[in-house]
């Protein structure tokens, strides 16, 4: 597409041949000639993108009617536009439109006849919950917006469309509640989206990487979810969602670190239970990356910290292992990562076999062979389980990566290494800001009010809904 606009030619033939040339004489570009009231007309459409029944009902039927009417009121498709710009015609063709040319009229018609093939609305597999709505986003933006609108029937819900990409364009939607979202954040999001200059946007991940504040940080700064109820909850709290046509993932922003540890289940359970499970999840954050480090530091530096009986137990199984604890841990972690990745890419029936072979056979044999000690197996297994407790896949992966530097620090400097490693981690988290919002709130800056819905969940009536437009809260 070199020229941004191209005025149409005089004859149908010229127009059609221009379109055919522009679309490389592709075989699925169909041209159908008809006569209406003695005038030669031509329908042009891409077969693979057009719905045959719509074409027949709303375009061909009206055209074949005997009584002549004005063209502009003839077509019964939902959208029927007139244009004289062939470039616009090409764009519309690629979006499933049918073009109608007629000799003697210096304009043509763009008729909306796209075909839709959509998967049914099912619960996303990686974000299943126990109670609550069991629907999920699918690969169609309009269906996704439908799912959102249906739950949020408020006039404040605002949707803004943007075209992303230069070679192939994708429709993106920025969704927010006008009275809840902070103006500043919305403005930042929109200006960043408009600045994206990639040739093609394939995944939501592309958008995320183009608009996030700190691309060099390990931590995800947008919450990715495929759940409409999750998205709606955030929208109602003044967050902004970005969705891409053809992708079931919603990007939610600005989010804090702790958003990745919340699930819709928290709000369907009774609040005490919900608080308990949330605390368990927080504990899993600590365990997921610190446990191996603590173990390494303990056995290689500070074994005097262990009470005497425990010391003998641990020491007894350690004496048979020829490697230093770090190597031992890295070996097991490597095995675990291999198993995880293998299980992920295989069909689920074979995946189970992998789990049995990996977990039982290798785990048992590796200790019997004297390569790894039993306590280390326990530690690594606990770590692995903890890392799966995190509801967000992105955050889970980030935390899984974190334990490697911490393990190395622990093996170099013992407990001091761990505390310094954690200090660096928390300094980094304190530094992160997402769209002008501190990422580690409500821990840093410390706002006790925010704790009501962070580590625990207070009863719903204490979580006051606030309108952010009127009082913009800043640290």
């Amino acid at each position: 597409m070199n020229a941004s606009s191209q005025e149409m030619f005089d004859t149908n033939k010229q127009n059609v041949s221009f379109l055919q040339q522009a679309l490389q004489h592709s075989d699925d570009l169909l041209v159908r000639e008809i006569t209406r009231d003695g005038n030669a007309g031509v329908l042009v459409y891409i077969e693979s993108l057009t719905d045959a029944s719509q074409l027949e009902k709303h375009v061909l039927d009206p055209l074949s009617q005997s009584n002549p009417t004005e063209l502009s009121t003839l077509f019964t498709t939902i959208q029927a536009k007139e244009s004289i710009d062939l470039q616009q015609g090409i764009k519309s063709l690629l979006n499933g439109y049918t073009l109608y040319f007629e000799d003697g009229i210096r304009r043509f018609y763009l008729l909306e006849t796209p075909s839709h093939y959509e998967r049914s609305i099912t619960e996303p597999e990686n974000e299943s919950i126990i109670r609550g709505t069991h629907n999920g986003f699918i690969e169609s933006l309009s269906v996704n917006l439908h799912l959102i609108r249906k739950q949020v029937n408020s006039p404040e819900l605002t949707v803004r469309y943007y075209e992303l990409g230069k070679t192939t364009t994708r429709k993106a939607a920025v969704i927010y509640m006008h009275n809840q979202a902070e103006e500043e954040v919305v403005r930042k999001v929109i200006s960043r989206i408009q600045r994206i200059t990639l040739d093609h946007i394939m995944f939501t991940g592309f958008v995320q990487e183009m608009i996030e504040d700190n691309p060099y940080s390990l931590f995800p700064q947008h919450l990715m979810t495929e759940r409409p109820d999750h998205t709606n909850a955030y929208l109602m709290n003044g967050h902004v969602a970005i969705m891409l046509d053809g992708d079931p993932t919603a990007l939610i922003l600005p989010v804090s670190f702790f958003a990745f540890y919340k699930t819709p289940d928290d709000y369907n359970n009774r609040w005490m239970v919900a608080s308990f499970t949330r605390l368990t999840r927080m504990l899993s954050f600590i365990l997921a990356f610190q446990l191996p480090a603590i173990y390494i530091a303990t056995v290689s530096f500070h074994s005097s910290i262990l009470p005497l009986k425990l010391f003998f137990t641990v020491q007894g199984s350690l004496t048979r292992v020829p490697f230093p604890p770090l190597i031992e841990a890295l070996l097991l972690e490597l095995i675990f990562e291999l198993l995880r990745e293998a299980g992920l890419r295989l069909p689920s029936r074979v995946g189970q076999t992998i789990g049995i072979v990996g977990g039982l056979v290798i785990g048992d044999a590796i200790v019997k062979a004297g390569l790894v000690s039993y306590p280390m197996i326990i530690v690594v297994a606990l770590t692995a389980i903890s890392s799966f407790l995190i509801p967000s896949y992105e955050m889970g992966s980030a935390v899984r990566l974190l334990r490697f530097p911490l393990m190395i620090a622990a093996s170099l400097f013992g407990f001091l290494g761990i505390s310094f490693g954690l200090a660096i981690l928390f300094m980094h988290l304190c530094k992160l800001e997402s769209y002008g919002k501190p990422y580690f709130e409500p821990l840093a800056p410390l706002t006790l009010k925010g704790w009501k819905d962070t580590f625990v969940r207070f009863p719903v009536w204490t979580l006051r809904q606030k309108t952010k437009r009127s009082n913009t809260r800043r640290e």
Binding site: L416, S419, P445
Partner: protein, 363 residues
Amino acid sequence: MAKMEKTITARQLFFLVIQTQIGVSVLKIPHKVNEIARGGSGISIIIAGLITQALILMMWLLLKKYPGKNLYQILLGMAGPIFGRILIVSYAAHFILLGANIMISATDIIHRWLLVSTPKWVLLALFSYLAYFLAREKLSVLARFDTLACLLFIPLVLFVGYGLNEAHIENMLPLLEQGYFKIFTGAKDVTLAIYGFEILLVVYPFIKADNKQILWSMTAANSFTTFFYLFVVEVCLLAFSHDQLKLMPEPVIYLMKSMNFYIFDRADIVFVPIWSITTICSLVSYVYSAALGFSDIFKKSNHHLFSALSVTISFAIAFVPVTPSAMEKLDKIAEYMAYVFIALIPLVLLLISLISLKKKEGR
């Protein structure tokens, strides 16, 4: 000149100040005070707290007269560009020296208690890197981290409080064994440990609060530190006798060492890493203050490079003294420098500003 954005709240100031005040010396203070004041150590600490409060009041009076300016800019305005810059450099040197002092003591303690065979320069490098990592950031990030790190006081207080199990009231009696004079001299040693409130001189224009709130949070911070020290010292005095304390340079760690909980023995191994984080916080404050001074001299709005510079100098200084007597000498230098920079110069500035304001009113 750095653009003065109001970035921290009065509450964050509170945490910033206590983190700057409470550093290495918390481990040593019971030993030091006990040498002079014995049973009256607690009184010494309260006296030191009161002196500090007076100094805070003085600084506050000075800063109040120059809204939107910190000490460096006041110096530049008052003493002229050349002499002012010399003064700023000496202030920065003072902060760097204090930073180096912290690093020396901290690495010394870690070297003796935790990582016996790790070379000291490695520990110094670790401290330096961490200090640089945080000191190059905005003040609001510093304040956030300090606030977060204050959560560590909870385990610290619990650990130290556990030492009350071994308390014997007769250990700390009689209170006035050494006489009032000794108790006052003891207060002088404590004052060194309470230093850190001078960070107010540097961060004053960044605080998003009115003067009254600032004074309140400074007072609250100082009281917190004083009472924290008081608590630590009294626990140590109760748990150990004078003769024992004389032999222990870091009585708090000894106290930890003797404890055992059911899941772990040797609480000192957990205690020292936690304590080292609060040490880093005060180190960071000093490095940041020095870096801010440099950026004021060179009229740069960015202090990245200068914090790297300050950390490097601190590292170099901390590298020099290897013998205990050299360390003690450095301690003494830092102490006397502190008298000049924290008490004398602000006092002179305050007097000058009072006189000059009087003159203006007279006209």
